[in-house]
Symmetry: C2
Subunit: 261 residues, 2 copies
């Protein structure tokens, strides 16, 4: 595979993928190997940092409960390192442009006159369901899917829950803390409590756990199972396939609690 | 990066990524290097086949106008090769579970008792907009995105256009041939003709072309520009960012025709 051109003084926004470090792209890894500075988030796998052992590693993730580095500081950090003519990799969990503030970081770099390049990644929105045996689309079950984040959603007033409730497959990233709120809003908008729903924690990693239920049961099942973040919620008929496809693959040893009725 | 375990007699459904061969995952490439049979689609980049030079290469893609290999034949082919104890890679454009019939292929393998594993890929749904400088989500512009395919949509009666018209960012894969139909349905459901819209052809490849307009102008602009398949349609305020982010990156030499008003 040919090596990409890597320029000093440029910021590379690289998607680290959904969890499993092997799911970074070839191009992303090639650029990471040439990094002099790696600015990384909380959900980036430690194995990826080992691919750039000589680079300066700067953690800018949000720690639950800790005061976190603000976006302006992250931008200032990247701009300063790039102006020092270093190869800067901004390594972000999943894909930089799927709820990753990649757009805002590009705007800041643009305003500062710092060149940048975006190297997309495998988003958890499709890969985490896949790892649990759930295709987000299926000719018989779902001709469309939608993606939101649970991270900020109780505070958001711009989500159109009525429209979201009518999309065949809905994926909610970072969906654990606000799970009861999201489920409640979908039910209020007329989604059936019998709609299949699954929560996948630590998706694509060895410690992956899957809980399968319905909109009516999923919040209680997840609480009973005691699973932790990061977790992805998937709502829709495609969840039925987890029972079959999810148990079959050799690398998909998922624990499934409950089942859609 | 550790080598994954690759088993003879297993089918690996591998996402080839959105176009640029460097956007396959590291794990996908590692498995491809061990393939004895590669069953591949039309949008898979030829450079990826060169990564498995000794393997049997079987083309099963649809050619426009040609009679195409039917899904049942593809399934039978994979099952036969796997039963012959070969390492079979089913290489699919984008991600196997995003409008890739990956779910159906898994069900067929399951019914035949053939073990399989899904290795997700970077979907064109997020990476093609990114390559044109369009983040599918953005804190100020879009808190949700939805994805459909234009491929079969005139014949589909199960798409809820009213709901789709209300999602902030809509991505339509394979969106060229049915572009006027999709635009017409969104306008009928109340979307404003001033809504920004872009079509990106050959996204992530050197020959990428982007046309930017609005729902009211995009069909005519695309016709004038004479761009070809594969093409991705993106509708929503995030398209405005193409004008800025899309022109900035060193690897993003996009031709932009027209602009949202």
């Amino acid at each position: 595979m040919p090596e990409p051109i890597v320029r000093p003084g440029t910021v590379y926004l690289v998607g680290a993928g959904p969890g499993d470090p092997g799911l970074i792209t070839v191009k992303g890894l090639q650029v990471l190997h040439r990094a002099q500075v790696v600015v990384y988030d909380r959900l980036v796998h430690p194995a990826l940092l080992k691919e750039a052992p000589a680079a300066e590693h700067i953690f800018v993730g949000k720690q639950p409960g800790d005061p976190h580095v603000r976006q302006g500081e992250i931008n200032a950090l990247m701009i300063a390192r790039a102006r020092a003519r270093l190869v800067v990799v901004r390594l972000k969990g999943g894909d930089p442009f799927v709820f990753g503030r990649g757009g805002e970081e590009c705007e800041a770099l643009l305003a500062a006159g710092v060149p940048f390049e975006v190297i997309p990644g495998v988003t958890a929105a499709t890969a985490v369901p896949a790892a649990a045996g759930i295709p987000v689309t299926h000719r018989r079950h779902a001709s469309a899917f939608a993606v939101i984040t649970g991270h900020e959603c109780p505070g958001r007033t711009d989500l159109d829950w009525e429209a979201l409730a009518r999309i065949p497959t809905l994926v909610v990233l970072m969906g654990l803390r606000t799970l009861p709120v999201v489920v409640g809003r979908l039910l209020e908008e007329g989604a059936s409590p019998a709609t299949p729903a699954a929560v996948v924690a630590s998706g694509t990693l060895a410690e992956q756990r899957t809980v399968v239920g319905t909109l009516g049961t999923i919040a209680a099942l997840v609480r009973q199972a005691g699973i932790g973040s990061p977790a992805t919620l998937i709502v829709g008929d495609v969840v039925r396939l987890a029972e079959r496809i999810g148990r079959a693959g050799p690398a998909q040893e998922v624990e499934t609690v409950g089942a859609p009725t």
